[in-house]
Subunit: 419 residues, 2 copies
């Protein structure tokens, strides 16, 4: 924060540097990312840069095709017409991947967020082990890179979402219980396997899904928002004042193993009564379809669809099971609401598939348990990204990084222009 | 944030305004608040303001006695000597108050944080009702104002800490269960009663205690820190990236009524198995001193001291009770750690009084339950502010506000100097 103050202030001073140029280009791009289409005057006002500086920066960004002219806006009846620009970069690709319990998901876009590739392939990650999983992930990534190149966009960065604890700075998956991965240097290994010279970033799936929701989801722009994954495991991503909460080590938002029932069933993690044992898909399947012999659940989406069919047909046992899970979802939601006071809790995965049956129970329980009561105005809402929120968020993470370091997508040697 | 970028950037531009002057003065004061003693060159570098601008601002702040010269620093062996300045304002007072279940606490300081008044008076708030409580609070405040004036500092703002949900923007206590206050317009009523023309601000006690800890406590400066009050009620204040988390409505950090045991005892709030029923002082007293007939607990500090004496003497029943409460403290701490990933959980009130017996159990349970395990590196530590953290934080809140609006403590009509 202080950092930006310094750079922007120097922008108007006589001194200049490649770093300053990078910062100012980034200020302009960031403003356009957050505001769709803006005039140069708007940008100058919002960033605190001089009008002339903004014109120079925009000229260079236009030349590099990172922004485009969007036409003429008339401001007020007698205002002068202003030419607006918007984020472009159709040749700059951002590739997002997610590897989860039973699938690998891909979301490729250009710098402006235009979708180029979207794909999901079934894959049994835990059974495959880390080495085979990495090979499969690399192949899917390579195919996506080729598809994006055919669409005219060369990936300038790659993001991967993983359901587990991630050391974000090193790109290492510390522990992903539902994949059985421990201390896996995913960024380094994927980078080597792909032979790409672009940055590879790794983060938790719920964090990235929260980023996707905040960027373009059902509650986009809501400054205080929590995202809950609804898979075999349950994770949380927290947006506070429009920013992803990471905490001291990047381990924030670990909602799955909240101890909600000290006398409850044993969880996969070895503890008892974790929230995941109440609201994870396995818990629902156990209650809704007790005749199903197979555990663990390896096909969450199919199973959720099957339960949705049963619910639509009025299956009483399924309705009771969903009511029970819904109440536990509301209890966990009340914990989240009491601690973070978000305006919206966006639920994804199977929670979203079954939202029409699940959320009324969850909302009622949330309102009963949250201390501030109705004053907290917190509502559950279903994501409409299906199981694709995390890979979409992984691509958003890449775009954000490119916008923070624009010279990496401009030219290899920063020009020492007088910004 | 963008806001600051704008202002600081304009500082170097030819335009000027009273608002800009305010912002630049504030930049300098904020830097000095966070860094004790700094040279003009340091300030220029950190704020992005021009050297000449900083010299002008510092000259004005010196003239107004809001900063003072602290002597000469030699930077390196051959560096030029630099004259440093520090926050001063010995004539500008900040008054912090806390009203809780059985006491009113006062902390008066000057702008630089030097303590001028510290006092606590016993008072049975719930039995007294809002009107009598307000009269008593006003009297205590008036006495503190007089004492501060005698010490040469006229209070320029007043902060009040309350154990409950506070609508911070309006200064209204929405709901304080342990005081039995509902929708009480505390700021307006106290302001009227005192007849002072300075701002009166109200916030939750745990939030303000967290602020005090982050400003000057045992873990001062730790960017990710959680504070837990240990009184009849239990509240939480959350610091993320050095800033107080408020959430969408200011209702964040409500840890006392986390549902930790669905089959547990009925809580004062009407729900069952709230965390407060496990770790609030009443729970400990019930287990440690079951022969005591009186409930509710109206004298937390005396009771905690009594239990500490018993523990020191090796009272077995008390030791068992403290172990049980310690485990529940660790369980709640694990919820906080899983969601926020703080580096430190500072405990206050009776938790701090009994820390030597309580925290080993709490720490062990935290480490057992937190998902990231030892990697999360979260430790419990006892506050050394006793029961005075919240009133100290209330004074810090006032100081922060004065530093954000420095012209209110400088002169009634902002001078249009060329900053």
């Amino acid at each position: 924060m202080e950092h930006h103050v310094t750079r922007a202030a120097e922008a108007a001073a006589p001194t200049s540097s490649p770093m300053l140029r990078q910062t100012n280009l980034s200020l302009v791009l960031r403003h356009l990312r957050d505001h769709v289409s803006r005039s140069r005057a708007d940008i100058a006002e919002a960033t605190g840069l001089h009008r002339a500086t903004v014109s120079n920066l925009v000229a260079e960004l236009l030349e590099r095709r990172l922004v485009r002219e969007t036409g003429i806006e008339h401001v007020g009846a007698i205002g002068r017409p202003r030419r607006s620009v918007a984020l472009h970069g159709a040749h700059v690709g951002a590739l997002g991947l997610e590897i989860n319990v039973d699938y690998i998901s891909v979301h490729g876009s250009d710098l402006s967020g235009r979708v180029l590739v979207e794909r999901r392939v079934g894959f049994d990650t835990m059974a495959s082990g880390p080495d085979r999983s990495l090979r499969r992930l690399s192949r899917v990534a390579r195919e996506a890179v080729e598809a994006m190149k055919r669409a005219g966009a060369v990936p300038a960065g790659l993001g991967v979402a993983v359901p587990g604890l991630v050391d974000v700075a090193r790109g290492v998956v510390t522990f992903a219980p539902n994949l059985d991965w421990h201390d896996l240097p995913l960024a380094a290994r994927l980078s080597t396997a792909l032979g790409l010279s672009v940055p590879v970033m790794v983060d938790n799936d719920a964090n990235l899904a929260a980023l996707a929701e905040h960027t373009a989801g059902v509650a986009a722009g809501t400054p205080h928002l929590v995202y809950l994954t609804g898979e075999v495991g349950v994770g949380g991503g927290i947006i506070i004042d429009g920013k992803l909460l990471r905490g001291a080590d990047g381990f924030s938002g670990e909602v799955g193993h909240l101890p909600v029932d000290p006398g409850g069933a044993r969880c996969g993690c070895g503890r008892h009564g974790c929230w995941e044992t109440k609201v994870g898909l396995a818990a629902l399947v156990r209650m809704a379809m007790p005749e199903q012999p197979y555990q663990p659940v390896t096909d969450p989406e199919e199973r959720a669809t099957e339960i949705a069919r049963g619910l639509a047909a009025g299956d009483r046992r399924m309705l009771a099971a969903v009511a029970e899970v819904g109440r536990w979802l509301g209890l966990g939601g009340s914990i989240v609401a009491n601690l973070f006071n978000p305006r919206v809790i966006v639920v994804g995965g199977y929670f979203a598939t079954l939202a029409e049956w699940l959320l009324p129970h969850a909302q009622a329980e949330l309102e009963r348990l949250v201390v501030a009561g109705p004053a907290a105005q917190c509502r559950f809402t279903a994501s409409n990204f299906g199981f694709g929120a995390a890979s979409r968020g992984a691509a958003s993470m890449v775009i954000n990084r490119l916008i923070d370091h624009p010279t990496t997508i401009m030219d290899p040697i920063p020009r020492l222009a007088a910004y």
